[in-house]
């Protein structure tokens, strides 16, 4: 069992895909406390998205255990899914539906209905500066606007834990700032955040703790500033990242 402090507990997690020669996630142990913004960092193919997919209940692990707020996804899937929010790397929206139609639909998938759902959607659209575009189809939106709607779709039910997979990839500076500010804001209101990113600077500024993984293994975990100081020759998170994962190009 987990204690109150450890909101997400990962023990001995292994994932090997069929026909793969190596483990995508290899004996991973992690504990994430309530109220943290936790950054899961690693080069391409390190096992970040696989770990996140297991935590969200999208794929099964080969071995190991995962508890979220003391509950196993296997035995209590609907309970866990009620209080987690997921923002995938892809723009997982319907191009032919308008922004408001998309958000109402995803809200209903969490069981929200009626005026309360409409109010939540309208508030988020206002918060993200999208009110005047709410009746436009997603297919006509810019990349940044799509990212913002993609984020809103994952938080309509006000989750206790938010999983984000590269939420700021490929967007303009303004949209990125709006998203990061918003993440800090909801974290201050009590939402625990687990996020993956390739932007080291962004992770260094945003995260209370980070974990660097490579080849599915945990390389380092801790507070960014402490980790940087504890590794000789590292001035920032990017130096640390390169020192831990090497300088070879990855696919």
């Amino acid at each position: 069992m987990t204690n109150k402090k450890d909101f997400i507990e990962i023990r001995g997690l292994i994932k090997r895909y069929p026909q793969a020669e190596v483990n995508a996630v290899d004996h991973l142990d992690l504990s994430i406390a309530q109220g943290e913004i936790f950054g899961l960092l690693g080069p391409n193919g390190a096992g970040k998205t696989t770990t996140l997919s297991i935590l969200c209940g999208l794929i099964s692990a080969t071995a190991g255990s995962v508890f979220i707020d003391g509950l196993s996804m296997k035995s209590h899937p609907d309970q866990v899914k009620q209080f987690i929010g997921v923002v995938p790397q892809e723009i997982a929206l319907f191009d032919k539906l308008t922004a408001i139609e998309n958000l109402l639909y995803f809200g209903q998938m969490y069981g929200l209905t009626g005026k309360s759902l409409k109010d939540i959607v309208e508030n988020y659209l206002l918060r993200f500066g999208l009110t005047d575009r709410k009746n436009h189809r997603i297919g006509n939106f810019s990349g940044g606007m799509k990212r913002r709607i993609n984020l809103i779709a994952g938080i309509l039910h006000q989750p206790k834990i938010l999983f984000l997979d590269e939420p700021t990839v490929g967007i303009d500076v303004h949209s990125r700032n709006v998203i990061l500010e918003f993440l800090r804001e909801i974290n201050q209101q009590g939402t625990t955040i687990l996020y993956t990113s390739h932007h080291m600077n962004e992770a260094e500024n945003l995260c209370s703790r980070i974990a660097v993984i490579d080849y599915g293994k945990l390389m380092a975990v801790g507070i960014p500033a402490v980790l940087i100081r504890s590794h000789a020759g590292c001035e920032n998170l990017e130096d640390l990242f390169l020192q831990l994962t090497g300088r070879k190009l990855r696919d």
């Binding site: 999208l58 692990a61 609907d78 899914k81 139609e101 998938m109």
Partner: protein, 434 residues
């Protein structure tokens, strides 16, 4: 349960919006079956009419200016199927011209009645009769020598592209007229024998009127009899084909959701995936019901305006609706299954369309089941399109009610349940969380 209901209603509404906004795809779902029904019905109707209304031109060279030749030509002329041509550009036909015209494809059929055909028939009848009479009566036909000879013959030339049905029609007609002429000649010879032997003069009146009437009618269990025609066959056949073609957009929709990450996002949300699947089924179910309604309207109101027979939908409307609804479920279920199992949009498009074409082919949409080989007649029972088509034929042509089509309904519903269950199981169990 409450969450299931919310998810189901939201998914149905979302799918309906997506369908309405995909105008090109939606119009294809309605334009394609309309075009199929119109084109195929008109094509097959004209084929039906070729023999009945458009008389087939037949070149005839009659070299026997006697009973046999005259009666055969008269028979052909009086037939409603043939238009007899015995001269070209004012010139009487010669054998070589007849062969050339048919060989060149100007005419599909040429008939040549050989010289002395009537006389040959008479000689043969006399010879056979003499074999039956006592020896003292051997001089009944005078001193003329009577010897056996080859039967009289008619040569029929066909253009190589002539349809087999046309060949059968002309051969049957010639055989019928020949039999009648043979009977007449036989009667003439026997009359003469009777007159000579018994001194009785036979009257010809009424002798050659038909002794057997063939009453053609369609079997039915009650008063309502729908006449089978191209419309009664083609409207349900192509409507069923089009209804199952909904597999392609439905499977494509599932794959697009998977590729865009939407289906992954949905799987991170609480509640059963079944509600989302049923939402899709409901939206496409409505499309198929509208397709079927459109086909009925076309069959009843539009086809008669184009000079085609009117579709007679029978009078078991409840059975008609229940069958259409069950077909709609079977088609959407199959679409969900194809979309679940296919890995890419290309796979689903190719497999979806080809499998529907194959199921239609073995289901009897193109070739009637009774014309198939014994093996194929067993295989056809595996096609849901066959269960659908037979259900419509039962209602439209055999005046069947709900209980009569229960086996078809059961098979289609089980097909739907199997498809959706397999899809749901695959979606749920492919990736069990820890």
């Amino acid at each position: 349960m409450w969450l299931f209901l919310i998810k189901y209603i939201a998914s149905t509404y979302k799918e309906t919006l997506l369908l309405i906004r995909d105008r090109a795809g939606l119009s294809m779902l309605f334009i394609m079956p309309t075009a199929l029904v119109l084109i195929m019905t008109m094509l097959q109707d004209s084929t039906f009419k070729v023999l009945e209304e458009k008389k087939l031109s037949v070149l005839v060279l009659n070299q026997d200016a006697d009973t046999f030749g005259i009666n055969i030509v008269d028979g052909l002329k009086q037939s409603k199927f043939f238009h007899v041509i015995d001269s070209l550009k004012g010139k009487v036909l010669a054998e070589s011209a007849l062969r050339e015209q048919v060989a060149a494809g100007n005419f599909q059929i040429g008939i040549m009645i050989r010289p002395n055909a009537s006389q040959t028939i008479r000689e043969n009848i006399k010879y056979r009769m003499l074999q039956q009479l006592p020896e003292e009566q051997s001089g009944i036909f005078g001193s003329d020598p009577v010897s056996p000879s080859q039967p009289a013959s008619i040569d029929v030339f066909f253009d190589p592209v002539t349809k087999n049905s046309f060949k059968q029609a002309i051969i049957s007609a010639l055989q019928e007229y020949s039999s009648m002429v043979e009977a007449k000649v036989l009667f003439g010879v026997y009359s003469r024998v009777f007159e000579d032997m018994l001194d009785i003069k036979l009257k010809k009146q009424g002798v050659f009127s038909r002794l057997v009437n063939i009453n053609e009618q369609y079997a039915a269990t009650d008063q309502h009899v729908a006449i089978p025609n191209s419309v009664q066959h083609n409207v349900p056949a192509w409507a069923v084909f089009a209804m199952f073609f909904v597999v392609i957009p439905l499977a494509g929709n599932l794959i697009k959701e998977r590729e865009s990450g939407v289906s992954l996002r949905l799987r991170t949300m609480p509640g059963s995936d079944l509600a989302i699947i049923m939402g899709k089924v409901t939206a496409y179910f409505m499309v198929i019901i509208l397709q079927a309604l459109l086909m009925l309207v076309i069959g009843i109101y539009l086809l008669p305006l184009l000079g085609l027979p009117q579709l007679d939908p029978g009078h078991h409307y409840l059975a008609l609706f229940v069958l259409t609804a069950t077909i709609a479920l079977a088609a959407t279920g199959y679409g969900i299954l194809v979309g679940t199992m296919a890995g890419t949009l290309e796979q689903s498009s190719i497999f979806g369309s080809i499998s529907v074409v194959i199921l239609a082919a073995i289901g009897g949409v193109w070739v009637p089941v009774f014309m198939m080989s014994d093996v194929m007649q067993v295989v056809t029972k595996l096609s849901p399109l066959n269960w659908s088509l037979n259900g419509y034929y039962d209602i439209f042509l055999r005046n069947a009610g709900l209980m009569d089509i229960l086996p078809n309904l059961t098979a289609l519903f089980l097909f739907f349940v199997t498809c959706v269950s397999v899809s749901w199981w695959v979606n749920t169990h492919k990736n069990q969380p820890v």
